[in-house]
Every structure is written in structure tokens, then in C-alpha cells.
């Protein structure tokens, strides 16, 4: 009897614990990047709407699928980058967005709202939020003739002074160096050639950088002089630390990343979720994130109203052509594995 009762009580306690982490009405649970639920605007949002916001932070785009697939139905909103959005849709983890409920939808860059990777069967599944280029940068004091090409990351004179992002995007980089501009639809041969180029580059590489902070540290501690970077982000941190950096779009072009808000399937907090999305696209949300992460934003109308003219130009919000010239990430679909496998093979060498 005692055992039965104890078991009953434990089950009750367990159930209470579980339900407290599951969906709670009026509480938004975000799975997102640091900065995307910053107190500077979340506090105001909570006061105005009565919706409470909890944020769980991810370290990489790889965290979204495993966390959501593990089940539990905890999260309401997520912010994968454009290379992961299609996977979220195909995994059936997110639901379509009613763009009529997004006040600023018409103000967003058409290049972003028409992205293929946020659509399926004619429905929109994501709300573009921030974007930026994946460009190259170097320590200004380390070069007499400024580098201008991806090939400079393969310059033997820079042995041990180079770093590139530990990501499958290094395949995009190497492919462009090889002259293959169709970086999102590479053939097996082109991928193999990119892999070969990256293997040849290995002796020059000091370290593959995995996080923004790591890249900053590599420059700060004098380990490297040239790398790729998320435009604006790390260079501005380094400039504040007194290191003169120059960013440039290589003549082979630059990729573009976009972070997308997506609504987790069957969330009971749709009302709060849409309120949050609308706040994020308003001048309050857009300028806060532009300042926190030094990223360009998806709503140029909001940006114009809240940014200084200098910042507006610095973040390329004044020139829609800049965004269009970027080779914005596309979904690789079932070719993803070939790219990821090639990059893993490079690292295994």
C-alpha cells in the first residue's frame, strides 16, 4: 500500500514537473540565438502584451532539429538560418505563417520574402529577420597589398595565419575559388575538387573557427591575419578592441545568410507568437538587433526610421543591390549530405 501510494505521489510530482516545462498559455518559449530575445526589448514587450518570454539559446543551426525532434513540444518559435529552414519544413516541425497577420510583411525586402527555402506548396513558413554577407576580412596592418580574392586564403606566404569557418560553407568557398559559381548545385566532381582544394589549404590553416567568439580570440591573440567572417559582426568587436580590420567582398562574390523566425507546429501560443514577430519587425526589434549583433535587418522601412544615416549605410540597408548581389544560402535538400561529408573528410585528413 505504502509503495503504491509513493508511486502514485511520484507520478503526480513527475507529471507536474513535466507539465511546467511543456507549453504554457501566455508564455512564449523561444529556441533562438543570443540577442534575439534581448532584455532591451523583451521587457517592454512583456509589459505591453502580457505575454511572458523564455529563451533557450542555440550554439549552431545544428541544434534546432535534434532539440525539436526529441519531442516535448516545449518551443513556440525558432530562428534557424536559411540553410536549415527547408529541413525544418520537410521534418514537419513548423507550421505555415499567416503573412496577413504580419503588419510589416509588405515592407520587407522582396528578395527575402520570396526565398525558396521558406516556402512549400505555395505556403510561407518563415519570417525573415536579419541578414548579412559571409565576406572575408584581414588585419589591415598585416598586408601591404590588400587581398581581394578567395585565392588569398590559399596564399602559401600566409602559412599558419589563415582561418576559415568550421562549416559546410567552406565547400562553397573552395568551389568559388575553383571557378564553380553554382555553389548550391555542385556536381559530385565539383564537390570533390572543392574538397581537394581544402585539403591543400590545410597546412596554411591555423584553426577552423567554430564560434564568433573564437574567431575574435584568434585575431586578438595574434594567431591569424585573414579569415572569412559574418559581415559586420566580428570585425566590429575587433575594432572596439583596437584591432584595425578590413572587410571585403572577394571578387568571386560572397554568400549571404538570413535568419528566419518560424512557428513551431501546433503551438498553443499563436496569439503571443504573432505579437512577438510583429514586435521583432518593428523599429524596436529591428534596430535593437542591428545594434546588438551588428547585422543588417529585413525591414528597411523600420531601419530607416530608427537608424542613424551612417549605420543605415554601414549595414547596406541603403542599397538593395548589395543584398541581391550576395549569393544567399539555398536549401541543399538531399544533396546536403554530399557537402557535409566532403567537409568532414577534409577535417578527417
Amino acid at each position: 500500500m505504502t509503495i503504491a501510494r509513493t508511486a502514485g505521489i511520484s507520478t503526480a510530482i513527475l507529471a507536474t514537473l513535466l507539465s511546467s516545462v511543456a507549453h504554457a498559455e501566455g508564455t512564449l518559449n523561444l529556441l533562438t540565438w543570443e540577442g534575439y530575445a534581448d532584455p532591451s526589448y523583451v521587457t517592454q514587450f512583456e509589459q505591453e502584451t502580457g505575454c511572458k518570454v523564455n529563451a533557450t539559446y542555440v550554439g549552431s543551426n545544428d541544434d534546432f532539429a535534434p532539440k525539436l525532434m526529441a519531442g516535448g513540444g516545449v518551443f513556440d518559435l525558432i530562428t534557424p538560418s536559411l540553410d536549415t529552414t527547408k529541413l525544418m519544413i520537410d521534418l514537419d516541425l513548423v507550421e505555415p505563417v499567416d503573412t496577413a497577420k504580419i503588419t510589416a510583411w509588405g515592407d520587407l525586402y522582396p528578395t527575402l520574402t520570396s526565398l525558396d527555402a521558406i516556402q512549400k506548396d505555395g505556403q510561407i513558413y518563415g519570417v525573415p529577420y536579419t541578414w548579412g554577407g559571409i565576406v572575408l576580412m584581414y588585419r589591415t596592418d598585416a598586408f601591404t597589398t590588400p587581398p581581394e580574392s578567395i585565392a588569398d586564403l590559399w596564399n602559401p606566404d600566409l602559412k599558419g595565419k589563415v582561418s576559415i569557418w568550421d562549416d559546410k560553407s567552406s565547400i562553397y568557398l573552395a568551389a568559388r575559388k575553383n571557378g564553380d559559381m553554382n555553389i548550391y548545385s555542385l556536381s559530385d566532381e565539383q564537390i570533390a575538387a572543392a574538397q581537394q582544394a581544402l585539403v591543400e589549404q590545410k597546412p596554411l590553416v591555423r584553426k577552423y573557427w567554430a564560434t564568433a567568439g573564437e574567431l575574435v580570440d584568434l585575431y586578438k591573440s595574434g594567431e591569424i591575419v585573414i579569415s572569412n567572417t559574418w559581415a559586420g559582426n566580428q570585425a566590429s568587436i575587433l575594432k572596439r578592441a583596437g584591432i584595425d580590420m578590413t572587410e571585403f567582398v572577394p571578387k568571386e562574390g560572397a554568400e549571404g545568410w538570413v535568419d528566419i523566425w518560424m512557428v513551431v507546429k501546433d503551438t498553443p501560443n499563436l496569439d503571443c507568437a504573432y505579437k512577438y514577430l510583429n514586435m521583432q519587425l518593428s523599429p524596436l526589434g529591428q534596430c535593437a538587433i542591428a545594434n546588438i549583433n551588428t547585422a543588417s535587418v529585413a525591414n528597411p522601412v523600420a531601419a530607416k526610421s530608427c537608424m542613424s544615416p551612417e549605420q543605415f549605410v554601414e549595414l547596406h540597408q541603403d542599397d538593395p543591390g548589395y543584398l541581391e548581389r550576395l549569393m544567399v544560402w539555398q536549401s541543399l535538400g538531399d544533396r546536403y549530405e554530399a557537402y557535409a561529408n566532403a567537409w568532414n573528410a577534409v577535417k578527417a585528413q
Binding site: M1, I3, S60, N61, D62, D63, A65, P66, M69, L87, D90, L91, G160, K168, K202, V205, R206, K207, Y208, A210, S221, G222, E223, G333, D334, Y336, E337, A340, N341, N344, A345, K347, A348, Q349
Partner: protein, 288 residues
Amino acid sequence: MSALRRHLPAVLVLGIPLAWIVLFMLLPYGILATYSFWLKKYPTFVPAFQFGNYLTLFTDPQYVLVLLRTIKISLLVCLASLLLAYPFAWFLVYRCRSAQIRTWLYMAVIAPLWISYLLRAYIWKTILGTEGVLNSFLIWAGIIETPSSIFLYNQFSMVVTLTYIFIPFMVMPIYTALEKIPANLNEASADLGLGPWRSFWRVTVPLSMPGVAAGFTLTFCLSFGDFVAPFLVGGPDGNLIANVITTQFGSALNWPLGSALSVVMLVVVLGVVSLGDRVERRSAAGGF
């Protein structure tokens, strides 16, 4: 009811460890083994029974390469730990007269275990870096003129860091083994005419083998599964097997292949553990 009450102690004594083993060992391993036969199919993977994942592991050179590298690094860590830990433990047991100093020295080895693993690995970054402590010292001492980049972001720095982190697991069992050797055995060996050097090799070393084997097993298994050191202090050639597994479960979303790799890793670890166990028992029986 009363029968249950009567048997309750027995049920608890047997049941709790049994439930523990089933819940925390057999079940997870079973799930892992099951996944390893599944099939990767975009967007995720589907149930199947096939050996394709294992085949990939042995035909695609990247996995063999990383596996061999991981074994190499782990063995180097074991060797470095042994060479440092054995003399240290021997000194503590045989040469350190003051019990208080002995306790302090022993604690000095154990204490780092209380500090976060990440922090300890980070510290080595600041020591070995191009503008780090070691380089500054070497320049100050006039040994080198310009900072050298050979200390960090390569396999050397990984071995140094892992040795530092896991050496307590080598010191502890060796210290225990040495301490258990009765002092009169060395005296007897001296009485029978063996010099201190030969006594050491023929009495102390064989009798301490169980400790060495235990230390070796622990250190090897811990280094073998490490994935933080490659991430923090490893260079472009520093990928270890645990990093590959992380990738398969993360970005590649290929849990079947990741599971197959984990099973292979488990087999290697079990092999090392049973080998260590055999050495321990054989030397404990005096037949070394």
C-alpha cells in the same frame, strides 16, 4: 501485502541495481545498437536492418583515419601520464617522509579535478599560444627571437592538455598500488643481495602493475572519448572520433552512422577495459 513487506529488502537490494543497469546501460546501448542498422534518408532516417553504416565506416578512409588518430593520441596521453605519474607516486610513497607533505602533494594532483574541465583546457590556450606565457618566457630567456606557433593548435597541444587533465586518474591507482606493497618485500630483496635498482624492477614494478593497468585503462578510455580538447586546442589535423560522432548526430543528422561509430568506439573501449582487467588480475596473482 505482508509477503511483499517481507521480501522488500531483497527486492530493493537486487531491484535497484538491476533497474539501474537496465535503465541507464542496457536500454541506451540497445537503442544505440538499433539505430546503427537504420538507414539515412532525407530529411532524417528510417528503420531498417542493414550493415551499410558499418560498411561505410570501414570503406570510407576518413573514419579509419580518425579512429587510428584517436587511438594514437590516447596512447600518447597514456604514455606521457605514466612517465610523469609513476615517478611522482613512487616519490610520494617511498621518499616523502612527512605524512603532511605527502597529503598536500597528493591533493595537488587531485585538486584540479574540482575545477571545470573547460577552464583547465582554456588555460592551456593562454599558455601555449603565439603570444602566450610559454612564448613570452622563451623570448625573455633569449632562447627564441620571434614567437613560435608550434605549441598550439596541433596534436602536441592536444596531448599536453589531455595529459594534464587526465593525469590524476593515472596517479591515484598507481599510488594506491605502491602503497599496498609491504615494505618488508623490498627489505627482503635487499637482504637477498639485490641492489635498489634491481629491487625496483623485480619487486616494486611487478607488484604495482595492477595500478598501472588500472591507470592506463582509465586514462585511455577518457582520452579516447574526449571531444573538447580538439575543439579548444586542436588544429586542422585534430579531429577525433568523438567530434565525428557529434557531427553525425548534429549537422549531418545521420544518427544511424553516428550510432554505428559509437558502437565501434564501445567495442574498442570494452577491448581495452578487458585487456586492462586481464593484466591486473594476472599481475595480482603474481604471474606477471
